[in-house]
């Protein structure tokens, strides 16, 4: 008497059974993950817009068109318009040196570039107070010359530049390292100048990475709170960025207005994520095309 074990499953189905969980496990895990994300991500996001519009669109519009809000928007845009290009130039220079050349101490340099990510925002603001504040190294000299950095716009710009230093560089370094130096070397051998090589060879290869880094850098520059809070002085209508304006309104129990202004920043975050996803999808496609060539 022999018993034969029969496999009613096709080989493909058997393979699936060996490397996949049963359906009930799969759906339970998906459910659990989505529950966690709903609780910690989706509900907070939705609540920003709900609280902003709870008292009607009139209150909403009044809050975001209030002169203080408008001046906060203007300051936030100004700060980002200075901080992002500065870090863009820095990111390109750092990535050019690190990705295209071999030199000693490279890893240390990469670590130093990443440093601002690991510093608490509060400390990031404080160090500028220690340099430029009244009690700081340059404080007496600045006061003598009637220059104001702390509790003024330059301090806000500096603190924002500090916290956003790594964004573009860390996007470009691995990208340019992966691309190697052959194309640039060919251009130089053919007689192109350094700038021509950069503009016609390197830049087209890195433009999406550059844009990607700039978008993330911009989101952080516009949204930075802790570092800016330390150096701003919270002067309404003059040194108040959007996130600081949210705080002031909230602390005055003006919740509808606080959430209205916050909803602008939440929209910025959503646009940032949308652009980021678009660029990632484009990159994937681009890599596939390159693979087929």
């Amino acid at each position: 008497m022999t018993t034969t074990i029969t496999f009613p499953l096709s080989p493909a189905a058997r393979k699936e059974r060996a490397t996949q969980e049963p359906a009930w496990v799969r759906w339970s895990l998906i459910g659990l993950a989505l529950m966690f994300l709903t609780l910690f991500l989706f509900i907070p996001l939705i609540s920003v817009f709900y609280e902003a519009l709870k008292k009607g669109s009139d209150v909403y519009l009044a809050a975001i068109t209030h002169p203080d809000a408008l001046s906060a928007i203007k300051l936030t845009l100004t700060v980002a318009a200075i901080a992002v290009p500065l870090n863009l130039v820095f990111g390109v220079a750092a990535a050019w040196a690190i990705a295209k050349f071999e030199f000693r101490g490279k890893n240390l340099l990469i670590t130093l570039i990443d440093l601002p990510f690991s510093v608490s925002p509060v400390v990031s603001g404080l160090i500028y107070v220690l340099v430029f504040g009244l009690q700081g190294w340059l404080g007496p000299w600045l006061a003598e010359h009637d220059l104001k950095i702390i509790f003024a716009v330059p301090g806000i710009v500096l603190a924002t530049v500090f916290v956003t230093v790594p964004f573009i560089a860390r996007e470009l370094i691995p990208l340019m390292q992966a691309q190697g130096t052959e194309e640039e070397e060919a251009a130089v051998v053919l007689g192109a100048s350094g700038w021509q090589t950069f503009y016609h060879v390197t830049l087209p290869n890195i433009k999406w990475g550059l844009l990607y880094g700039a978008i993330l850098c911009n989101a952080r520059a516009m949204g930075e709170f802790g570092a800016v809070s330390v150096v701003s002085g919270h002067i309404r209508g003059s040194t108040n960025t959007l996130p600081l304006h949210v705080e002031i309104l909230y602390n005055e129990y003006n919740f509808a207005a606080a959430f209205a202004v916050a909803s602008l920043l939440a929209l910025l975050a959503l646009v940032t994520l949308a652009l980021k996803t678009l660029i990632e999808a484009r990159n994937k496609q681009h890599q596939k095309q390159r693979g087929h060539e």
């Binding site: 989505l34 966690f36 609540s47 071999e102 030199f103 404080l126 996130p243 920043l265 996803t277």
Partner: protein
């Protein structure tokens, strides 16, 4: 110079590196050194007294405890989310994948007021928790909630690419050799993911320790109970206690640097693991 840099025909090295170093020095290194140099004006006993008062010690315990708990929750659920996003298909997956990065993109102040409104006694979530005896907003539990939100993407985004790279042949081999699904996961998949998981945990933990914006709204900020260390620095600064604020920030900086070192080691370990397999 020749030993410092290998020869290359590409131009621009001196300009690019020179600018990089100048920029880093002006923006990052000199200001950071200010914290250490200013602290050096204190004697060691003075420094030690400032950074170990009961109120400060309570803030360390809270900051580290809440950060650790939040990073732990993120390690467990981050692994789950990464797994679900890589291995399964479900409607809306792409949207969910994109939204995982929300805590990176959403300004911390916005996260702070949104979470506070949700978990307050009359909030969407707080109204259910409060009758059960859980007060979240304005307690240390609220700090944990804010730090969990802030750290959410780290584990997902470090584990996700490693999980994508694990070849299905490994799992098939394990199954052929008679392992059941759970054994395959615990003995084949999980060990391959572990370095990435630890890296994600450390990143979330490091971020949580320094976090300020999302926490201060929900914390209640009671000295000895719900006051985090970064807030204490601000408090000292507002009282013009520059020496105290600077001393505390040096403690925070040293801790950040140690964590940065650990994270670099973990990443190195993670890379070596993936090369070996």
């Amino acid at each position: 110079m020749s030993t410092f840099k290998q020869h290359s025909i590409l131009p621009g090295f001196n300009l690019a590196l020179g600018f990089t170093l100048l920029y880093l020095s002006l923006i990052v290194l000199i200001p950071l050194s200010a914290a250490f140099i200013r602290t050096a004006e204190l004697t060691w006993p003075e420094f030690w007294t400032i950074v170990t008062t009961p109120r400060v010690m309570a803030s360390y315990r809270l900051t580290f405890g809440a950060s650790f708990a939040a990073a732990l929750v993120n390690a467990v659920f981050g692994l789950l989310v990464a797994w679900v996003l890589v291995r399964y298909h479900f409607p809306g997956k792409k949207l969910v994948d994109a939204l995982v990065d929300l805590p990176f993109a959403l300004p911390t102040a916005v996260a702070g007021i949104a979470l506070t409104a949700l978990y307050a006694g009359n909030g969407w979530i707080g109204q259910f928790l409060e009758p059960m005896g859980f007060k979240v907003a304005f307690t240390p539990l609220g700090i944990f909630v804010a730090l969990t939100f802030i750290g959410l993407p780290f584990v997902v985004r470090t584990v996700q690419p490693v999980l994508e790279d694990i070849e299905s042949e490994l799992e098939e081999a394990a199954a052929t050799l008679g392992a059941n699904r759970w054994q395959t996961f615990t003995r084949v998949i999980f060990p391959a993911l572990f370095p990435a998981l630890m890296t994600g945990f450390a990143l979330a933990f490091a971020r949580a320790i320094g976090e300020y914006g999302s926490v201060i709204f929900i914390a209640g900020n009671m000295p000895m109970i719900s006051e985090i260390t970064p807030l204490l620095i601000i408090t000292k600064l507002e009282q013009y206690d520059y020496a105290g604020a600077t001393a505390l920030s040096v403690v925070m900086l040293v801790i950040s640097f140690i964590l940065l070192l650990i994270i670099n080691l973990l990443q190195w370990w993670s890379r070596r693991r993936s090369i070996e397999s």
